[in-house]
Amino acid sequence: MSSFLVGTSPQIRAEPDVDKRVRGSIVRRAAPLTLTIAGTVLCAAGLPTVHPTAEGSTGLISVLGPWYLAGLMLLAAAFVLGLTIGDQPRWLAGVQTILMIVLVGGLGPIVESAPRNAVTYTHLGFAQYIRSTGTLPPPIDARSAWPGMFAALAFVETISGPTSPFAMARWAPLVLDLLWLPGVMVIASSIVADRRALWSSVWVFFIADWTEQTYLSPQALSFFFFLTLTGILLAGFGPDGSARWRARWPKLDSVSSDWKPPTPWSSGLSQPVRMSLLAMVVSFGAAMTVSHQLTPFLTVLVLAGLVVMGRIRTVELPWVIGLLAVGWLSFEAASFWSGHLSLLFGSVGNVGGNVSTAVAGRFQGDSGHQLILICRFGMVIVVVGAAVIGYLRLWSSGRAQRWVPVIAGLPVLTLVVQNYGGEGSIRVYLFALPFLAPLVASAVFPGPAPGSRRQASYSSAGAVDGFVHLPAGPTSRLSERLSARRLLLVGTACVLAGAVTIGGVAATYGGDSYEQVSSSELAAVQWFYEHVPAGATVFTACVNLPWRYEALASYRYKGLPDGHYADLRSDIGPMLSAGAVTYVILSHNQEVCGVDYQGLHPGWLEVLETNLLASRHVTEVYSAGDARVFRVTRARTSPDPTTHGLPSDRSGG
């Protein structure tokens, strides 16, 4: 408010062009808020026109209309304007950020009526099993040995009443994004130099996070614990120079002793508060230990790095969380790994193979899907490149912290041990992003060098610097004239921010064509549960079927084995010889998954279905919309020799 009043003070009114400046200041004050409202209204107006069922292989971006996209551009422009030339109230950046999260992270839940991602339904099934039996889930797969998140979900579902768990699963991506937000902010506040960089970090994190991990899953919840735990340790347990190892290894100490961020919060913490925070941090470590296989070990890696770099002083903490994780693996999860040692350690040291599986192995599917993969890969390159620039700018202004790039790079080490089912690279990127995003923001807002002339006015709210390098003090900026060069820079930044935000939407929802779930699929699966007795075997052609959300242990759920698309003629073999009571559920989304994701010929599922029916041992028992259920009436040991005319390879053109 005070800066606004500067324009109307008698002293300034005496200047010749003060009226223009006052008008300019009003425009600059109003523009961010006005654009924010306009962008939100446009997005809201555009959402009803989005029909996910019509989307192509590039995912949701292919059906987002001009209103929604224009609204998103305006919101991004409002954010940039507010940080650069406007004088927005402090709360506006927060509101803009939450709006962005709702409109981008919540886009899927808003436009799709059923929870996205078939794996979500399996996780609901684990929780349903616990809810209905009051016991731990049976050893179906690795997830059974880490049931913490499923137990918590069953608890929450029960206390939330008899409402469909689907409602909770549908909105989980948005809730998880909002849960991640404070952790991302606290971590960023330990790295960046001002509020503009802080909010920009948050935007970069959520726009650049295309990893699709924000669904109802143990890894999403564990990552939330990771963010909170790491943020609190960085903010509250910073270096105090008293660690014994620092005196013992002075050389190492000199490596780690770079610029230290201000720690007014941690310096005010009393000892009982510190102990309480530490106890909470350990409980977060325990929570992720019982929920997810990988996250505790990545957390230990990051914490150990922070200890070695001298950034946190809780030397014991990596050991404590490491012992918890190893203890759980040795006792509670022994049933899993005792029979699957090769799964755990089979790829140790095979760095080339792991990287190849995690990166090159993902480049498959049709041209639209490959375009999305290129977009995602491009975003990684841009983020890493901008982070390097940001670090160099921080370095030149004397604010660089050497631990940041080291910690951002540490998760890559996990690829030495595991490719994590081909998802290793995704996890590496996700765990690096909270540390990369502040560096990216620092490329634009590095902050003034400590002790410089600009530093004196910098601590006042919203200094205009870093972006266009004008030596303006915070109290005069609204009354100053904007140069053409500066306007051009800010305009370019607005357009770029909008484009990057839309790029983020494209990358995040690039797999939506096969990750969305149709109501007819759900109806077919529900029919199966209501009409087929327990003990039956049920097949699907592609594993993106929303099944297993109930009766997790009562049926034998089978997808076709890996590599099954190599020869579709043999695909129906397992289905026909599976057992006495066998069902097959097929749907249009499986066709889409095969084409977009696996690179199969369009129409492959129809051929499969035709040959199933041609075997004369299969009867269609349910059909609704694009989903069908078949019953295998007599078990066979080999596919019908009369089937022919099938595509024999996976080349999708």
């Binding site: 927060g94 616990i130 039996t133 009051g134 016991t135 731990l136 049931p147 913490g148 998140m149 137990a151 918590a152 069953a154 608890f155 929450v156 029960t158 206390i159 939330s160 009443g161 008899p162 409402t163 409602a167 909770m168 849960l179 404070p182 902010m185 606290v186 506040s189 130099a193 001002d194 509020r195 802080l198 909010w199 939330f224 614990f225 963010l227 909170t228 609190i232 903010a235 961020p261 201000p262 007014p264 919060w265 005010g268 913490l269 508060v273 309480s276 925070l277 909470m280 409980s283 977060f284 325990a286 929570a287 929920s291 902050g447 530093q455 004196a456 910098y458 601590s459 006042s460 709210a461």
Partner: protein, 146 residues
């Protein structure tokens, strides 16, 4: 603000509290505590009454995300909203997870009872936070931090 209490360095303003601040609970904080207390009572009551619907779902979720955690984090009076929100939700979920896991291990699965116990444990702490003037947990906070 007293200029002597401002430390304009390193990009942050620091509001320091003098030596031993025995201050009343600020109004905005009081509102948060009241809200959490309201969620606590409403969610437990709805569960015990066996009601259904969207409101019950929202209450159940809000309970699991805020009540047990704020009962602990609120005691610390950290004066940094971002850290408090993160700690509250994480502590709440960790406590819910621990309760659920212990019930499974003990073969005593009863989430409604678990919610009742958590709610009963949290309520007096919340009332105490509301009424007792206390020492602020953090003497200074980064003013520039949201």
């Amino acid at each position: 603000m007293d200029p002597e209490l401002t430390v304009p360095d390193k990009g942050f303003d620091v509001e320091t509290s003098p030596g031993s601040p025995q201050r009343l609970v600020p109004p905005d904080r009081k509102l948060v505590i009241l809200l959490v207390l309201l969620i606590d009572v409403s969610a437990v009551t709805a569960s015990l009454a066996g009601t259904g619907g969207a409101m019950r779902m929202v209450l159940g979720l809000a309970f699991a995300l805020s009540v047990p955690g704020w009962a602990l984090v609120g005691l610390l009076r950290l004066s940094w909203p971002a850290a408090e929100v993160g700690l509250t939700t994480a502590s709440s979920l960790a406590l819910v997870m621990a309760t659920a896991q212990v019930m499974l291990w003990a073969h005593a699965w009863n989430p409604i009872l678990g919610q009742l116990l958590l709610g009963l444990a949290a309520a007096p702490v919340l009332v105490w936070q509301l009424t007792a003037p206390g020492r602020v947990g953090v003497h200074g906070m980064p003013k520039g931090q949201p």
